[in-house]
Symmetry: D3
């Protein structure tokens, strides 16, 4: 691969662990938990911080919206030596999942084509699953903090604006417990390139009931989740 | 659905737990661990036993070869009230997985089309993953018996005779740790119909190195695995 | 291909003609018409008999349910030297086809993907048709026995449990005269590997009207059909 | 359907039998065998003749090149009351099929998409096969005239200019005995709309060996084939 | 490519400019505007004329119905040295496009598969657009003649007989301004083989309102459009 | 649609014209050319400015990386009343396109699936083209500023990291003049929702030759291009 990188750091500079986020506010929440966080890369709106947590280097990286954006950032991290990546994001809850619950996907459903076709060169339903050990460690640490954790399947949508009520009901009827926009890309590269990947989604609202969190509650809970993730890396 | 059933038992007769197998020999191994096992259905070469394990009813069911065969049997079990299904099968190891290791799939890759298209009515990469709790319990019980357990992704092939060395290398390079012929069907229905599903594969041989188990070793190890599965239901 | 075989016979042991069946009961019906039938292979629930009919060796082989199962068995037979294969099965009648009629498919419709994709390496509508001479001979012999024979197109489904009334009506409206679960696999390999293939389906019931045969009538008629097939090989 | 028709004849004017051709010269050959042939429609380069053969009305219709062209003409004929359609065309031979042999397809392979997708509304491998009785009658009449007849599968290509030697070898290796540009469209509508359809292809040349017929030999043989077709209607 | 050509002219004989048409009547209209037009090829119903316009050689070529027919003719022209091709056709108007308006497509939508798959060897949405300079010149010349010109996207259908009112409304709702049967093939080869391509469609009727032109008006307007095209080559 | 919006402005607040960019630096370049620019929305790393240019309101909006990101932002803009959107981005040149040239796509090629499938509900090659008037106006204004403008087809890739030399050569051989990551999404929504859309790409480097611009030259030229775009709205 001779493609241009988004992250202007040097190989090794980032350590081998990263938390990636799609929201600048959430990024700050994570960075504030690090010791000596430094901005090491800023390009085209994409920023990367490196700090330490209990003596170990951890990067915090913005991944933007959608599978192509996340996979570009993630593949970049892989090229720079990162081998353990946790995505910390939000998601819209489905079925009986409530705002404030934490969804940890054991697998993502996704649309064929696009990014997957370009990497694989064929239409193929590649299993998108997390690293099993990392999954267990994060679930355990989240539970220790008295968070309500749900492990199940999540659908990564490519078009938020098509999320009509009818569409969400169809996705929910197939027993997805949440819907969001990027996660499939992370688990895809994790399995294809062979690094440890996991996603953690805070449910801001349930897409069917409308039940939702206040911004204050979000901020408070994201801080706790970030702590649990950092402790698991 | 008004489709003909393969299992001629009555609703409720089977209990809510089943172990399904694709090999008559392995079926016997499991049945012998039950108390009072009885043949409750025999049709077209497909047989079903019911017995009890530590006081709880367990069915043991033959599922044949291939996704259409397994899904037919499995959907039948679902219609008859079964809600926890463990498939106990073999698989061909890939990557560094050795004969004698036990593969527990956290997800299956599969070919689009066929059974999946008929159920979903569209080409869609539906996440095929197990029940998380059941996964954890079985992995734990397998490890307690000192088995070497590998949790990872497995490819369900639809055509054993296309498994050339080149093909297996491609599947292995995508970091599948095993290849077999039915598992995707189980996790598919588990997620679609919402019952607890899990697969356990004993590796008879590694498809790349040729490293393989003797029949005696297979029989011995399958008895231990069957025990672990029964203890987890 | 270095794939494991299901049939443990040696090359040549089976002769070059086989009748394959998906039901153990029907298998017995055929075997009883042979001279000196012997069980030559039994593996994982799959059995193979060899006997003679009017001095010529004929194998009778169980193929299980679904395209992957049938194609595995059939490719195995091909590898063992068999070059003329008649599948003798049942099917659900559509349109005005009545229980008790015999459907001989001049072609199968099928879902793209799965087994076909693995063999061909692309999505392609490969013509699934029988050997013309064998078709004519079998049709003629069936008619001589005063059976009502229907030659037309049949749909090989991959998911029996999706056969709602609405689904069957759609398949029927496309002028399929029957629906079943394996036949496409046989004609596929027949054309791809270049051996003589044909299917014969006894209609047990019509999927739209519910009109059906008694088991006694089935047994009686299957014996006559088996005779006609044996005379045509 | 309120679509514009290509054939400007009135319903019933054409009788219920038609021979369709893709070459104006071949059209003349057929028309000359009719009594009282009359041009009944001419539009956009597409012409239709009606005459009688042994007292029965027969239409002869130009269908142009490619599946969309043939299906448009054929669906038009169906709308005008025609229920038995034989396509009389040429084809390029594959495998060991020689120039001068007559190929009668028992099925067509084809590319998914295009015309098929528009009619069916999904990607589906619909069986493209002829009417069995018509097939038998035409094959018998062709043989009576001492023509060398080959019944097998034929591939309908959508892009003549992609027929490189490598491409033809791939098509031949899948045991197609000929390749041409329209036939799949006829068998498709025959099965979908439920009328009797058959194709007859004179092999002008073999695509692999280059072996070919002179124009004189073509003219002579086409006259004989046309006679055989007319006698079969 | 060693495929048989439809056009029996020699390389260079046709010049480097061609107008292609799908209607024999329209062909005459164009030919009559040339000096010294000569029929240089006639094969299987496909004819080609060559004449001069303002001293420059221009070919006028019949392309038949459907993408496979047009692409065969067009690729033939390319092989014979033609590098600027304008298709002059009709189309059915959608949205608010009125009979008598002239649609110049800036892009074509099309069904995947078929011809496109054979050329590209994969399912891919290849941009089908005209040569920008030629587009501008033709639009300018059409407007100079006081024609009402509409530049927009057009859908190339593969099956005229599926054009129900409901279907046309769907196509119109996606903001296609017209629907027709061949244009995608021209822009496809123009982009793939790198020659200058453009289509001009006279709207004979609007498919939703039924509003249509008389034949006299068509003849009159086609003469003017032909003039504008010739002036732009 | 009841989906959450990314842009927190109110309907009408943005005016009906927007320039969208995927790079924060380029955003500044555009904003500096406006009078009274104000930040009106900032969410999750996505920012929107509104100012005036020659008395008319213009928004400048960050769209992130990839089709899902751009379409989300763009659909949001549409919902807020914007009806004319120019994307101002960079691209990698192919064929003979040099660094410093300006590519204006007359159409985008793209991978099927993903965002397109979710909006359309089927696999369909929808024409992705710009508004013709806007295209002409921008091309004219760019040329007036002595920029070297190339109008042609561009491929929107979903996976930058797959851009090996071999891949770029394949894309180039299909006569795409550039490759980038978002443009198809803009033209898609422009055609589907019926607003005026156009993309302008500055070529930073040629992907085949490596020929590239310095950052100074980029800054300088982007200012000129931004001016030309603003004058065209």
């Amino acid at each position: 691969m001779n493609a241009m990188a988004l992250i202007t750091a040097k190989e090794g500079e980032l350590g081998d662990k990263a938390i990636i986020v799609g929201n600048i506010q959430r990024m700050k929440t994570v960075v504030q938990l690090l010791e000596n966080p430094k901005l090491v890369s800023e390009f085209a709106g994409y920023t990367t911080y490196v700090g330490t947590y209990k003596g170990e280097k951890v990067s915090v990286v913005f991944h933007g919206i959608g599978i192509p954006s996340l996979t570009l950032v993630t593949h970049d991290l892989y090229n720079l030596g990162v081998r353990k990546i946790v995505r910390f994001g939000s998601a819209t809850g489905l079925k009986d999942v409530k705002a404030g619950e934490v969804v940890v996907p054991i697998g993502y459903s996704y649309n064929i084509g696009g990014t997957f076709y370009q990497y694989l060169g064929e239409y193929f339903s590649y299993a998108l699953t997390p690293d099993y050990e990392l999954l267990n460690k994060v679930v355990e640490n989240l539970k220790k903090k008295n968070l309500s954790v749900r492990v199940g399947i999540v659908y990564t949508s490519d078009a938020l604006m098509t999320h009509s009520k009818e569409f969400l009901e169809k996705v929910s009827a197939r027993n997805h417990i949440a819907i969001e926009l990027e996660g499939a890309g992370l688990y895809f590269l994790g399995n294809l390139l062979n690094f440890k990947a996991l996603s953690v989604h805070l449910i801001y609202r349930n897409g069917l009931t409308g039940d939702s969190l206040t911004q204050d509650k979000i901020n408070e809970e994201e801080k706790i989740i970030a702590q649990a993730i950092l402790e698991s890396l």
